[in-house]
C-alpha cells in the first residue's frame, strides 16, 4: 500500500484548493450541509491522505490499511473531497451528497461510502473507536495506525475524556488525534457555549504528547504528521489552530456557516475566491 500520494507541499496546497471548491459545490448543490468545519479541516485532511495514510482504492477494506476516523462526521464534504482526490469516489459520486441512495450521506458512513472507516454523526465517539483500532493493530502485530479527527466543540462530550484517559493507561502509541481548534461550534463560538480554555494543556495533563500548529500552513501540517508518527510510546495529539470556513471570505469565522449552504450569489462569490 502506498503511503500518501507522493505529493510535495506545493502539490498538496493545490489539492487543498480543489477540495475547497468541491466542498462548497457539494453543500451548494445539496442546499444543506456543513461547510465551516470542512473548510477548517481540509488542509489537514489533504496532508493525511496526500502525504501519509496507507490506503488502497482497489481494496478499501484491506486489513492492513491505516484508519482515518472523522469523529466530527458532519465535516463529511471535506472527507468526500479528499476521498475523491485519492480515487475512492468519482465526481458523480460527489453529486450524491445528501441525496437518496447516495454514497455521500449527510454524515460520513462506512456502510455507504468506500474509504470511510467509521460511521459518525454523533459527536464524541470517534476516539474510543480509534483506540479499539489501535489495540487490535497491536494484537495483530501490525504497523497500521489510527488517525482520529475531533472538533473542538466535540471535546465537550464526556466520552472524549474517557478515551483520553484510556489511551494513556494502555500506552497506545498507534493512535493519533487531531483537534480542529476553530473556536466555533453549532450555535455560536465555543467561548459562549462552553469554554475549554487551553486544550493542549488538558491533553498533556492526561499524559499525551502534544504539538500545536497552524492548521492552514501545509508545511506545518506535514511536519506535524511526521512528528506524530515518531511518537510511539503513547498517544499523540496535534492541536491545530484553524479558521472555520477558511478560504471563503463570508464563511470565515462565521458561526452561521457551521451548517448552512450558500445562496446562489454567495456560491458564485465563493467560486471566484477559490479560483
Amino acid at each position: 500500500m502506498e503511503r500518501g500520494m507522493g505529493f510535495n507541499v506545493t502539490e498538496l496546497e493545490a489539492m487543498a484548493k480543489r477540495c475547497r471548491r468541491n466542498i462548497v459545490k457539494m453543500v451548494y448543490n445539496a442546499g444543506a450541509g456543513h461547510p465551516g468545519g470542512s473548510l477548517s479541516a481540509i488542509d489537514m485532511l489533504v496532508g493525511l491522505y496526500g502525504h501519509r495514510l496507507r490506503v488502497d482504492t482497489d481494496s478499501p477494506k484491506a486489513s492492513d490499511r491505516d484508519r482515518f476516523i472523522m469523529s466530527k462526521g458532519h465535516a463529511s464534504p471535506g472527507v468526500y473531497a479528499v476521498l475523491h482526490e485519492r480515487g475512492f469516489l468519482t465526481e458523480s459520486d460527489l453529486d450524491t451528497f445528501r441525496k437518496l441512495g447516495g454514497s455521500c450521506q449527510g454524515h460520513v458512513d462506512m456502510k455507504w461510502c468506500p474509504g470511510v472507516d467509521f460511521s459518525a454523526g454523533s459527536l464524541g465517539m470517534g476516539l474510543s473507536f480509534g483506540i479499539g483500532c489501535g489495540l487490535a493493530a497491536t494484537l495483530d502485530s501490525s504497523e497500521r495506525t489510527a488517525w482520529v479527527m475531533l472538533g473542538d466543540g466535540e471535546l465537550q462530550e464526556g466520552q472524549i475524556w474517557e478515551g483520553v484517559m484510556a489511551a494513556v493507561h494502555h500506552e497506545i502509541g498507534n493512535v493519533k488525534v487531531i483537534v480542529d481548534r476553530n473556536g466555533i461550534q453549532n450555535d455560536d463560538f465555543c467561548d459562549h457555549q462552553m469554554r475549554m480554555f487551553d486544550v493542549s494543556e488538558k491533553f498533556s495533563s492526561f499524559g499525551w504528547s502534544v504539538m500545536e500548529i497552524d492548521g492552514h500552513n501545509m508545511e506545518e501540517v506535514v511536519n506535524a504528521i511526521d512528528w506524530a508518527d515518531q511518537v510511539t510510546d503513547g498517544p499523540a495529539c496535534i492541536v491545530m489552530h484553524t479558521v472555520k470556513g477558511k478560504g471563503v471570505s463570508f464563511m470565515e469565522n462565521n458561526p452561521k456557516f457551521h451548517g448552512a449552504a450558500p445562496s446562489e450569489e454567495q456560491f458564485q462569490l465563493a467560486m471566484e475566491e477559490l479560483a
Binding site: G101, G106, H107, C190
Partner: protein, 315 residues
C-alpha cells in the same frame, strides 16, 4: 374541526411556548449546543439569566436539570431526539427513577428530518422513553399543539419527554381549538365506523389525507391525533375498539415499541381486534428529502390506505 391553513413545525411551537413562560421565574431552559435547532434559542435571547448552556454534553445536562428541579425550578432541557438518547441512562436513573420533574424535549425526531441521514434520525425515542416508569411521552403534530402541550407541562407533576419534528406540515389545529388538547387525551379529528387510524406527529397529516382517499372508496375512518403516547388514552381506545373494531397506527418511528407497541399492548390485553402498523420497518434511515423518505419507508397516506384495507379484511 375546521381545516386550518398554513403549516407549522412542532419545534417552533416548543420555542413559542418557552417564550410564553418568560415571566415565570421558576422556568429554566437548558441547552446542549442545539438551541437554534430545538428553538430554545428564542428563550435564551430574551432571558439569558434563566438559560443554561451546557455545551455538547447531553449526559451532564440531564442531571444538571434534575438538580435544579429538586431546588424548586421547572427545567425544560432540549437537544435533538437522537442525542437525548446519549443521556438515556442518566434520564432513567437520575430523573425517572426518583420521579424528578424535568421536561426533556427531543427535536428533529423521525426520518422526516431528512438529508442529515441516519445518525440524526431518531426512530426509537418514543419506544425507549415509554419504557421508563413515571415518564410522560408526548409527540405533537404541529406548532400549535406543541405550544399548548408544552405550556401544560409547566404544571405537570411527572418528568416528560416530548418529541418535536424539524419540518413544517399542514396544521391540524387553529387557535380556536386548543382547548381540545389535553395531555393524555387523544383528539378525534374525523369520525367513522369502519376503522380507527391512530396517528402522531407528522403522520397525522398523512392520516388525514388517507381519510379523504378512503371516503372516496366508501370507507369511513376515525382519525385520532394520539399526541400522548404515555399515559395512553385507553378509554378512547376501548371506545374505538367497540365502535370500529380495527386499528391502524401511524408514526414516523420504528414499528417496534412506539405508538404501535403501546396501542397493541393495550388492545391484545383487553379486547383483541386486528391492528396494522405504519411506521419504519426494522431498519435505519438514510439521507434524502423528507417526502422521499416517507415514500421509501412506506409512510405515505397511500400506505395507510392499504393498511386500512388489510385491517378491515381481518375484522
Amino acid at each position: 374541526m375546521s381545516a386550518p391553513s398554513g403549516g407549522g413545525a412542532s419545534r417552533d411551537g416548543y420555542g413559542a411556548a418557552l417564550l410564553e413562560m418568560l415571566d415565570d421565574d421558576k422556568v429554566v431552559v437548558l441547552e446542549a449546543d442545539l438551541g437554534k435547532s430545538t428553538k430554545s434559542c428564542l428563550f435564551r435571547a430574551e432571558k439569558p439569566s434563566h438559560t443554561v448552556s451546557l455545551g455538547i454534553a447531553e449526559q451532564n445536562m440531564m442531571l444538571v436539570a434534575a438538580g435544579m428541579a429538586t431546588s424548586g425550578y421547572v427545567p425544560f432541557a432540549s437537544t435533538f431526539a437522537i442525542f437525548s438518547e446519549r443521556g438515556f441512562e442518566q434520564v432513567r436513573n437520575g430523573i425517572a427513577r426518583p420521579n424528578i420533574v424535568v421536561h426533556l424535549c427531543g427535536s428533529h425526531g423521525g426520518i422526516h428530518t431528512g438529508t442529515d441521514g441516519s445518525s440524526a434520525q431518531s426512530i426509537e425515542d418514543l419506544a425507549i422513553y415509554r419504557t421508563l416508569p413515571n415518564m410522560t411521552v408526548i409527540h405533537p403534530c404541529d406548532d400549535i399543539s406543541a405550544r399548548e402541550l408544552t405550556l401544560q407541562l409547566r404544571n405537570h407533576d411527572s418528568p416528560s419527554y416530548m418529541r418535536t419534528a424539524r419540518n413544517k406540515v399542514p396544521r391540524a389545529y387553529s387557535e380556536d381549538d386548543i382547548q381540545k388538547l389535553q395531555i393524555g387525551k387523544g383528539v378525534v379529528h374525523r369520525e367513522g365506523d369502519d376503522v380507527a387510524i391512530l396517528a402522531c406527529g407528522v403522520m397525522l397529516n398523512e392520516a388525514m389525507n388517507a381519510h379523504t382517499e378512503l371516503e372516496q372508496a366508501g370507507i369511513h375512518a376515525t382519525v385520532v391525533d394520539m399526541h400522548t403516547i404515555k399515559p395512553l388514552d385507553t378509554k378512547l381506545i376501548d371506545d374505538l375498539t367497540r365502535k370500529c373494531g380495527a386499528f391502524v397506527t401511524a408514526e414516523d418511528h420504528s414499528v417496534i415499541g412506539g405508538l404501535a407497541g403501546a396501542v397493541s399492548e393495550h388492545v391484545v390485553a383487553n379486547q383483541p381486534v386486528p391492528v396494522e402498523m405504519i411506521g419504519v420497518q426494522d431498519r435505519f434511515g438514510e439521507s434524502g428529502g423528507s417526502d422521499e423518505l416517507l415514500q421509501i419507508m412506506g409512510l405515505k397516506s397511500s400506505d395507510i390506505v392499504d393498511a386500512v384495507k388489510r385491517v378491515i379484511a381481518r375484522k
